[in-house]
Amino acid sequence: MARRESPEVNAGSMADIAFLLLIFFLVTTTIDVDKGITVKLPPWSDEPPPEMKLNERNVYSVLVNANDELLVRGQPMRPGDLRENTKNFIANPRKMPNMAETPKKAIISLKNDRGTSYEAYIRVYNELKAAYRELWDDAADAQYGRTYEELELEEKRTLRADIPLVISEAEPTSFGEEK
């Protein structure tokens, strides 16, 4: 019997099949960046929070009103300045009598209105968080010579114990108009 050479399989249609699948995945794909600001909410309690006598110098009150304007310790402020000022307040490098005694005692009190836009709220929250992150970075650099992200879990924990992130959110006011 004559041996026949096995015929070559035409691979041309393979490309078509692959193309079809490719287009399907191209259409359904959403390269979605699932990123955001992570927060931990305080647990709910039906009782009103206990009256605490706080030393006023340790409280940094940040207020965002219904017009998205910023009022920090009674003074208007640009959102762009908030980060620097917050850092200054927490670290208090010049030991000012009206700023936090130690970073451990510093409390950021954030209050907004029900009419505040979400964008403004996130902007302010982001700046407050950024202030803490920069402080952690500075401390990590001073103590370990690394950035905060590069630290081990245990080192992060000790560092955070020295500069704890305390952002306390008050019940919002409802002066502004809600959309």
Binding site: A11, G12, M14, A15, A18, F19, L21, L22, F25, L26, T28, T29, T30, I31, D32, V33, D34, K35, G36, I37, T38, V39, K40, L41, P42, P43, W44, R78, P79, G80, N112, D113, R114, G115, T116, S117, Y118, E119, Y121, I122, R123, Y125, N126, E127, K129, A130, R133, P172, S174, G176, E177, E178, K179
Partner: protein, 157 residues
């Protein structure tokens, strides 16, 4: 003397297309890996706010999404243009959050339930009123791990 014969009886050589499928397959696998199937159709308009302190949500299965925004154009007639909450595929109220989160939780394994994150995907133009209501409800339910979805910002304030 020998002559160079040019272009006689040779024609253009056929380009082999055998490697084309390979190239396409590489692309295909790339998209298969990065693809995320859209799990719910958005009925509200959501433009995320911008932020810099972003953290990535690692495990998709541990995240429950809460969309807040103005109903999309085609739903305005029926639902108005006030911001609404969308859970899964439909418009919901704040009180529906409890059931929704319980359902999401029941899909997870016992050990993972405490790690669930609620991702608030709110439009940047909604007001804090509705967001606060959602936050309060989350606190009452005990879902304290929350993520405010945002896009990275590069410019200064």
């Amino acid at each position: 003397m020998a002559k160079f014969s040019r272009g006689k009886g040779r024609g253009t050589p056929k380009i082999s297309t055998a490697s084309l499928p390979d190239i396409i397959f590489i692309l295909l696998f790339f998209f298969m890996v990065v693809t995320v199937m859209k799990d719910s159709e958005l009925k509200v308009e959501v433009n995320y706010p911008y932020a810099t302190e972003l953290q990535k949500l690692e495990k998709k299965s541990l995240v429950s999404y809460i969309y807040i925004g103005v109903p999309a154009q085609r739903f305005r007639k029926k639902y108005g243009s006030a911001p609404r909450i969308q859970l899964n595929d439909s418009f919901k109220e704040v009180k529906d959050l409890k059931l929704f989160l319980e359902q999401e939780k029941s899909k997870l394994r016992e050990a993972e339930r405490g790690l669930m994150t609620a991702s608030i995907r709110a439009d940047k133009d909604v007001t804090m009123g509705i967001v606060t209501d959602v936050k309060t409800e989350l606190r009452k339910i005990g879902q304290l791990k929350v993520n405010y979805s945002s896009k990275p910002r590069t410019d200064d304030l």
